[in-house]
């Protein structure tokens, strides 16, 4: 059963487009199979298909490639290797460390070694798979490092991909001991495969200028730059075109570039169009994932459960190279407080180097892993002090007089956070259900229930300040139709729909007068990735500013041409009121054109207020915080560890919603994706560093049957106090962390076995196996107590 509440106090005027639940801009095309993805494009004549030869060891080197032998195969058109790269051989996005193709050294299992080109996709992958196994010879040197313990071993000469970072002043053991209780705990958190339904794909076309590339990427500008650098040509000779992605979730922020560069390199070398599309199992094996983390806490806590000092350590397992790990581990650190005041806090973040693919952005960008630590701590404090975890959470929330984070940023909406929790507590009938669950657990030896209500406070902005900028281009044609390009990319999140609503609203024209075209580096240059939930905040504002610019020109023109004052002019729903008269938008545009008014404009936006001094670990890295909370109820089977999600109540803050249906879609989708991360989605590497869970047959994302039995989602009715676009808030990532409530509920159910005497040991994902083992420790504890 699913219940949605989208109504807001600030009733949206029906004549307004912003705030309406307009369906996704491509919905009608998507359901008809007419929405074109890169792989659906008509193949250009002579197109070649590329496949990668990949390493069968995780660490060592390629002793002999012998790939020349492949030329004897009549199906093979060309083989491309490291030596064929004319420019940069490293495509690391910020720091170096990501070779496009391996020269010799192997840093992870399935690292690309060479590219094979054939006339068909199937043939290319058959040849490449066989070459990886039988043609290339490997020399494996040492056992790969795959977990935190191995990475941190004193004997490891390179434990980190980037130096450690600390926020807050060092907290000593003495400081901790000043509190009545000192608690400690640790957790291993698994990574997560993005499992975008559309795998990585690029189609490169050689042209007289250079390269035109179609791709599925969240960051076309970076792809453009890297291709140019790989080919050693000026950026302006490369154009990247990106219409839509079949899902991204962060997995196409940096990790789409390799395939784009390889296709371009092959097109450059052969003079032919080249397409590369990764088969699912290859995609899963060669692309980075959400970082696994190992976290620890030590807390000084008062007898009634208030944190007085905190010493936190988060360790991200980064894989072989930095990629975006510096910023990801930073974000884990920024969110290790979640919504709670840590008082005196020291947060240390390590970036551990492991011999796997380089882990990367994934919805939440480290934030979820940081939050997991403090949410487990809340459960543990509740157990140690014999309270309901919700009460412990209330006691520790940021509040007046204690509302500054460990990096010195004020939490201005702390009262809203508290109100939101209280409202959800009521909506979800928390106290009554707590009692019912206690009773149930008392009388049921086998099936145990758990309940948890946890908050989310998530900082919005890129922590790299320069990325907080966006551009847009609007062309108005003489029939009044409007074409719009902006720097953001559409991956299903509804960004284009929202921006289209914004532009239509700003110009006072119907939604469908506006057409959003693919994101192209030759339309809007030097764009930031569509990431950090910032897509509509940044691009919506840029597009709004461009539209406002055009509107102002039309206003100026109308005033002089029709001899009316500005107050007498109104743009609404495609009609322009000019005092007594009304003309159509199209007619005004036509007249403006005849009178030589420019009908094209660009818009540019940069986020105000933000700054951060990393040296001092202090500042305001975020423009604002998005808030939310979820209450989850689960049942677990203590014989098997099987779990079911019985009821979920969500209250989430999107400011004044730009589009409630799309926002709810983001909340619901993120929540379920988060539940997958924390329950059934388990990445398994063997000791040789090979990813065993590299197919949907053995890596299990949620299905329709995993949907909660009861799901209630409401929007928190509060405008963004900051001047964001139409006072909305970002929504892409924050609701992902609502799923932590489900993990906490499982934790609660397990702890109920010992009547909440013993804190469980429950790593994530809480698979059936982990739940059962955690239950077993509780039973053993009881047995020891009896004995």
């Amino acid at each position: 059963m699913r219940k949605l509440t989208t109504q807001q106090l600030h009733q949206v005027d029906v004549s307004e487009i912003v705030g309406q639940s307009v369906p996704h801009e491509s919905a009608a095309k998507q359901v008809a199979g007419e929405a074109v993805f890169v792989d659906d494009q008509n193949l250009p004549a002579g197109c070649l298909h590329a496949a990668v030869v990949t390493s069968q060891i995780a660490k060592g080197c390629v002793s002999e490639q012998q790939l020349d032998a492949l030329h004897d195969n009549p199906d093979v058109v060309a083989v491309i290797r490291y030596d064929d790269i004319p420019g940069h051989q490293d495509i690391g996005p910020i720091f170096p460390g990501d070779p496009l193709l391996s020269e010799q050294e192997i840093r992870y299992h399935q690292q690309p070694i060479a590219l094979v080109l054939c006339h068909s996709h199937q043939r290319a992958w058959q040849v490449a798979a066989q070459a990886s196994q039988d043609v290339v010879q490997y020399q494996s040197q040492v056992e790969p490092i795959l977990n935190a313990a191995q990475a941190k071993q004193a004997s490891n000469p390179t434990p980190f991909v980037r130096p450690a970072h600390r926020m807050g002043k060092a907290v000593s053991q003495d400081t901790l001991k000043q509190s009545e209780l000192v608690l400690s705990g640790e957790q291993h958190i698994g990574g997560q495969e993005h499992f975008y339904l559309e795998g990585q794909v690029s189609l490169a076309m050689p042209s007289e200028d250079g390269i035109l590339l179609y791709t599925s990427s969240q960051h076309p500008s970076e792809v453009q730059k890297l291709i140019a650098e790989v080919l050693n040509i000026a950026f302006h000779r490369v154009t990247v075109d990106m219409r839509r992605m079949g899902g991204g979730f962060g997995g196409k922020e940096t990790q789409a570039a390799q395939w784009a560069c390889l296709a371009s390199l092959a097109a450059w070398q052969t003079g032919k169009p080249v397409k590369i599309r990764l088969p699912r199992s290859v995609d899963m094996a060669v692309t980075g994932k959400r970082h696994p983390f190992y976290n620890r806490y030590q807390l000084g806590v008062s007898r009634d459960g208030v944190i007085e000092s905190a010493k936190l350590e988060v360790n991200g397992l980064c894989g072989h190279s930095p990629d975006l790990s510096d910023a990801i581990v930073d974000r884990a650190m920024f969110h290790s407080d979640n919504a709670y005041s840590l008082s005196q806090a020291e947060v240390v973040g390590n970036r551990l180097k492991t011999d796997t693919v380089s882990h990367t952005a994934f919805r939440g960008f480290g934030g979820p892993q940081g939050m997991m630590l403090i949410e487990q701590a809340m459960q543990d404090i509740a157990i140690a002090t014999g309270q309901d975890p919700l009460d412990v959470r209330y006691k520790n929330l940021y509040h007046a007089g204690n509302a500054t984070t460990h990096y010195g940023m004020p939490v201005e909406q702390h009262q809203d956070m508290c109100n939101l929790l209280k409202q959800l507590e009521q909506n979800a009938d928390y106290r009554k259900r707590r009692q019912q669950i206690n009773q149930w657990n008392h009388s049921n030896p086998t099936i145990k229930k758990g309940l948890a209500l946890s908050p989310v406070k998530f900082g919005i902005s890129f922590t790299a300040k320069h990325l907080n900028q966006a551009g847009a281009l609007i062309n108005v044609y003489t029939d009044g139709s409007v074409q719009l390009n902006h720097g953001g990319t559409e991956m299903g999140q509804g960004l284009h729909t929202k921006v289209q609503q914004i532009v239509a609203q700003t110009l006072g024209i119907p939604f469908d007068y506006v057409l959003i075209k693919s994101t192209r580096t030759d339309k809007v240059p030097n764009t930031s990735p569509t990431a950090a939930s910032s897509g509509s905040d940044l691009n919506g504002m840029a597009a709004h500013l461009a539209a406002a610019d055009i509107k102002q020109r039309l206003l100026d023109f109308a005033q002089s041409h029709y001899q009316v004052s500005e107050e007498q002019i109104q743009f609404e729903n495609g009609q322009v009121t000019l005092g007594e008269n009304t003309i159509s938008w199209g007619e005004l545009v036509q007249q403006a054109y005849m009178h030589r008014v420019p009908l094209s404009a660009t818009g540019f936006y940069k986020t105000p207020k933000i700054w951060y001094n990393r040296e001092q670990a202090e500042g305001r890295p975020f423009y604002y915080f998005s808030l939310g909370a979820a209450c989850s109820e689960v049942s677990i089977d203590t014989l098997t560890g099987e779990m079911s999600l019985d009821r979920v109540d969500i209250l989430h803050d999107v400011g004044a919603s730009l589009n409630p249906a799309i926002d709810i879609g983001q909340i619901e989708g993120a929540f379920i994706q988060g539940v997958g991360w924390l329950t059934t989605e388990e990445l398994v590497w063997n000791e040789q560093g090979r990813l065993l869970s590299q197919s949907p047959a053995n890596y299990k994302i949620p299905t329709i049957g995993d949907y909660p039995k009861q799901m209630n989602i409401s929007l928190f009715d509060q405008m963004n106090p900051e001047h964001s676009i139409y006072r909305s808030k970002a929504v892409g990532e924050p609701p992902f962390m609502l799923a932590i409530s489900a993990w906490c509920a499982i934790y609660d159910a397990v702890a109920s076995i010992s009547q909440h005497q013993l804190a469980p040991q429950l790593d994530a994902p809480a698979t059936g196996e982990r739940i059962l083992m955690a239950c077993q420790r509780q039973f053993d504890f009881l047995e020891a107590q009896d004995a």
Partner: protein, 471 residues
């Protein structure tokens, strides 16, 4: 000639590789790119299309299938409906409109597959109790499924749409009636045993195929070629369920969706195992013969058969043999099947009403997942409350599906008391030696077998222990 109807176009093909999959054919040879590839392994449903076949009653049945792992030839004489066929002019089909209205598409990559599963749902004469079950074979990473569940409910509430596809049924039936038997040089679909035996003799290197849900993965996942295939689904003996004296004979090529419906009625304790075997989309193609053909140690069917005292019928066109499953399977993916033999049926004796039968499957994900452990128990007491019949079988605990006779012996002739249960559980680690793999550790598997025995014990004593069935 290979004859197919793709949407409303009847086509005849002469030169196609035996291992060409429908998805590649649609996308690469017919430019029907609305159907997507998300995994090419039957797991995601992005490639879902609807297969239309003629039933014994002469009606047309509409079932969703995974085009990525369905060999083109296996669809000879059938109609395939793709997403492109639903919309009429500018008018979306009601199932498409339902997805738009409920905001059921975000990135849109999974969407055509969901639309086709919804279309199959809309064409069912009897609407299922849980319409969302029709979407169990479709993964969506964006929406979290809420809107799609509502779309399914909307479709199920108003399914009877006399659409253009239904209006065209007479033409389709007429075309089906006129189709010649498949005539191909690399793919055979014989319709009688002798013919089959002869083809086998001529092509000892050809592979058997039932639904292809397993075989196709050799092509799409392991990047191998299969030059020659012999399809067993056109043999009447393999495609029907018959009453025998004291039991049933189920043809080895009956699709599991039909087997499921039959078992629900006659062996109700097996309902859950079939409902969770693959997805509904997989079950429309998968067969019993295919499950036993490769004797996968993690298949659900073998432990089930063992516990029901089933037998496997092998045929070579001249004579048949019957084997107990535990004798038929000899090792890791090894069986007694001789090269000239195929599996023709399974035999199930009627279930003794005094037997308590249960089969449990534990997997990482509840739906559409390979078992970590399957445990089946069949047990009967005599008039003195002593165990007089006991079969315990398991999957996922060894290189093959096994019958745990040592455990059975521990119970036979005894009363099933809490003490006996403890004894039984203590024996488990001696007799199963599972391995650690991607799904679970050996230790967990051992614990599962022990605890599932307890679950069975509690069940026998009327103590409910299961989580309520999933949403």
């Amino acid at each position: 000639m290979l004859q197919l109807m793709i949407n409303d176009q009847a086509i005849a093909l002469s030169q196609q590789a035996a291992d060409t999959m429908l998805l590649n054919f649609l996308r690469e040879q017919r430019s029907l790119v609305g159907t997507k590839e998300g995994c090419a392994s039957g797991d995601c449903g992005a490639c879902t299309v609807v297969m239309v076949s003629k039933t014994a009653q002469g009606k047309l049945s509409y079932q969703q299938i995974n085009s990525c792992i369905t060999p083109l030839h296996s669809l000879h004489g059938k109609q395939i409906i793709t997403v492109e066929y639903l919309k009429q002019g500018q008018q979306l089909h009601p199932v498409q409109q339902a997805v738009v209205d409920k905001h059921g598409s975000q990135c849109g990559f999974c969407t055509p597959g969901f639309v086709m599963s919804l279309y199959a749902l809309s064409r069912q004469e009897q609407q299922p109790e849980h319409p969302e079950d029709y979407l169990a074979g479709n993964l969506c990473r964006c929406t979290g499924y809420g809107p799609l569940i509502e779309a399914a409910q909307q479709v199920a509430a108003a399914p009877a749409t006399n659409d253009h596809i239904q209006q065209n049924e007479d033409t389709v039936k007429h075309w089906m009636g006129k189709c010649e038997p498949l005539n191909s040089v690399n793919y055979w679909q014989p319709s009688n045993r002798q013919e089959l035996a002869e083809i086998r003799q001529q092509h000892p290197d050809a592979k058997w195929i039932g639904g292809g849900t397993d075989l196709a993965l050799e092509v799409t996942q392991l990047h191998q070629r299969i030059p020659k295939i012999i399809d067993l689904t056109a043999l009447p003996e393999l495609s029907k369920i018959e009453r025998l004296d004291g039991g049933w004979r189920i043809g080895a090529a009956v699709p599991l969706s039909d087997v499921h419906a039959f078992m629900q009625q006659h062996y109700p304790t097996t309902d859950e195992i079939f409902a969770r075997l693959g997805s509904i989309t997989i079950r429309h193609r998968a067969t019993l013969g295919g499950s036993l053909g490769n004797a996968s140690p993690i298949g659900d069917i073998a432990p089930l058969l063992i516990s029901l005292n089933g037998k496997i019928e092998l045929d070579d066109g001249y004579s048949t043999e019957l084997y107990a499953p535990e004798d038929y399977i000899t090792g890791y993916r090894e069986t007694r099947l001789k090269p000239e033999q195929w599996i023709s049926a399974i035999h199930l004796p009627d279930l003794d009403p005094d037997i308590q039968h249960q089969i449990y499957k534990v997997s990482k994900r509840y739906e559409d997942d390979i078992a970590t452990v399957v445990l089946a128990v069949a047990l009967k007491y005599d008039s003195n409350k002593l165990v007089s019949h006991c079969v315990i079988s398991a999957g996922g605990v060894a290189a093959k599906s096994v019958r745990l006779t040592e455990l059975e012996n521990c119970l036979l002739g005894e009363t099933f008391t809490p003490k006996k249960l403890k004894q039984l559980q203590a024996l488990v680690p001696q007799f199963i030696k599972p391995i650690d793999d991607v799904r679970a550790s050996a230790a967990y598997r051992v614990m599962l077998v022990q605890n599932l025995l307890k679950r069975f014990y509690l069940y026998c004593h009327q103590l409910p222990t299961r989580l309520a069935a999933h949403a």
